[in-house]
Symmetry: C2
Subunit: 321 residues, 2 copies
């Protein structure tokens, strides 16, 4: 199936929403559907579209995979409760860390997360609910990058010829697959999601696992989680497209109280971009870079070095792995 892009200039959000709500209703019929909400703009828009179409026949889960930002599950669940949408938090941390154990190759890590998500966690939830449909926030950039072989996105299955019905027991519906991030933001705003959601910088499908080079142990994820919190606090008012902290596997020599400290390095990236296809590093002031370096080396145990990405996309990508 060839996906046709709807460009931002051709998008009429009200019409788009009406059409997608009708499509979802007609596909699901009187059946049940489930979806997973991560708190990003894509899955948030899909949650609202799904609830408009199906009401209580859509059950929305927040999968706590141990790879999310600090306090994220509770924060997002509370926000949607206010909008009248109930979210169930599913604790699957142990399953994800077990699947990630010993893996260092980025594609193997992504694959482990995909398998754990779709097969172990979602497959089970769908069966419990007797749901036949899964709603998903796949977007047009995900499709492009996966088909081009740049990254295996966690939510591309049918495009790769994987029969979800046969493999996992459900069909996937992807209402925003023709849109890029900018279009989804418009739709999310029109759906009356709060600005904190529709303007939210993108966050990768594999969450903080995409920000850890090398093995994703819970300890290493905790390190990058702490760095992420500092980066997000410091950069949330820059207007940048996306900003992130990456924990490197390489260790570098540092010095603490006059003694050698062979420690960790965090790379900070902050992007100016319209659509994630191309991007350039935000020209942060050195005062801001100083604050980031000082905050991270002071508050995140084990970190002795902070770098800032200065490469454009291409040849870099937005995320490191």
């Amino acid at each position: 199936m060839k996906i046709e892009e709807i460009k931002i200039e051709d998008l009429h959000p009200e019409e788009f929403i009406k059409q997608k709500v009708e499509e979802i209703s007609s596909i699901v019929g009187t059946g049940l559907a489930v979806n997973a909400l991560s708190g990003g703009v894509d899955s948030s828009a899909v949650t609202m579209l799904g609830h408009k179409a199906l009401g209580n026949r859509l059950k929305t889960y927040f999968i706590e995979n141990g790879l999310m930002r600090e306090g994220e599950p509770q924060k997002i669940a509370a926000l949607f409760e206010k909008l009248g949408v109930h979210i169930e938090i599913v604790d699957a941390k142990a399953q994800f860390f077990k699947a990630l154990k010993g893996l260092t190759d980025p594609e193997e890590k992504r694959e482990a997360i995909t398998q754990t998500f779709y097969k172990d966690v979602f497959g089970k939830l769908v069966k419990e609910r007797s749901a036949k449909y899964l709603l998903q926030g796949t977007n047009y950039t995900d499709v492009e990058e996966t088909v081009a072989g740049i990254k295996r996105q966690h939510n591309i299955l049918e495009q790769l010829g994987i029969d979800t019905q046969e493999e996992y027991g459900y069909k996937v519906i992807e209402p925003v697959i023709q849109l890029r991030k900018s279009g989804i933001r418009k739709v999310a705003e029109t759906l009356k999601l709060p600005k904190g959601i529709y303007n939210r910088p993108p966050f990768p499908g594999p969450a903080l696992a995409a920000r850890v080079i090398g093995e994703c142990t819970s300890e290493r994820v905790e390190t990058v989680r702490k760095a992420t919190k500092i980066v997000e606090q410091e950069l949330c008012n820059t207007g940048a497209f996306q900003y992130l902290a990456i924990l490197h596997e390489d260790k570098v020599t540092g010095i603490r109280e006059g003694k050698r400290d062979y420690g960790l390095q965090i790379e900070v990236r902050c992007w100016n971009s319209k659509d994630a296809i191309t991007g350039s590093p935000t020209r942060l002031s050195y005062e801001t870079l100083d604050k980031l370096a000082e905050g991270i080396t002071t508050e995140v145990p084990g970190v002795v070095s902070v770098t800032y990405n200065v490469t454009k996309k291409p040849p870099s990508t937005i995320e490191a792995i």
Copy 2:
């Protein structure tokens, strides 16, 4: 033996030179001495002091260890010939790469270079020459950092209780050990060395091996050598204390002509510092950072990402390993 620092404000270069020339003469007597010139300010100053004291009884070698900058041995030899000092280039590349094979731990790499330098290469040269003395450019910061256990400098032996007479067959003379870099620059200038030498940014003892995280193969050293050339060309007029390129072992995802390219990362560091004890990242313009990133990702095969260090020393160190 406790080394007493001579602070820059207490240094009288002419007197210092006179005193050191006398000391070297009196220690070596009518014997022979050798020294190794790397082209840095420390070994260049020592070469001139030694030749003032001993004339042709000091034999100066440039050890081509395969870890130097592009064209460095020939360039430095030609420069000293002009000053009337003959330099013999010794090709020891194969010995160094053999010693470095399979090593990834920074201290093990430094140790392998030290052993190859002092035992295999220098021990042999000293015996061939029947020299009893080795002149060396150890400085006060090297002593401090080694004693503090931050880094094992390649040229600290007696301070660590190693008897070079017994272990390698020669005694080490270290004429500039009481000075920091700024003092040595003054002495080098007074010795009439060219500005390109006395103002030269520091370069680590283990040379480019200190700029390769992970194993130092000749291929990986070639990668960092190419990046170093670009960094030095771009930053030589900044007035910075030191600037360097580091090849990481971590690989990151890049994108080339629309396809995934899992490639290499180069970290650039550029330091403002007086004495290497503390330092802060030079506030390079983003135009310069852009040029560095574009130059390195275009001209150095395999590199898809360039970062810039934004951490002060401490907790960072000047070099990464």
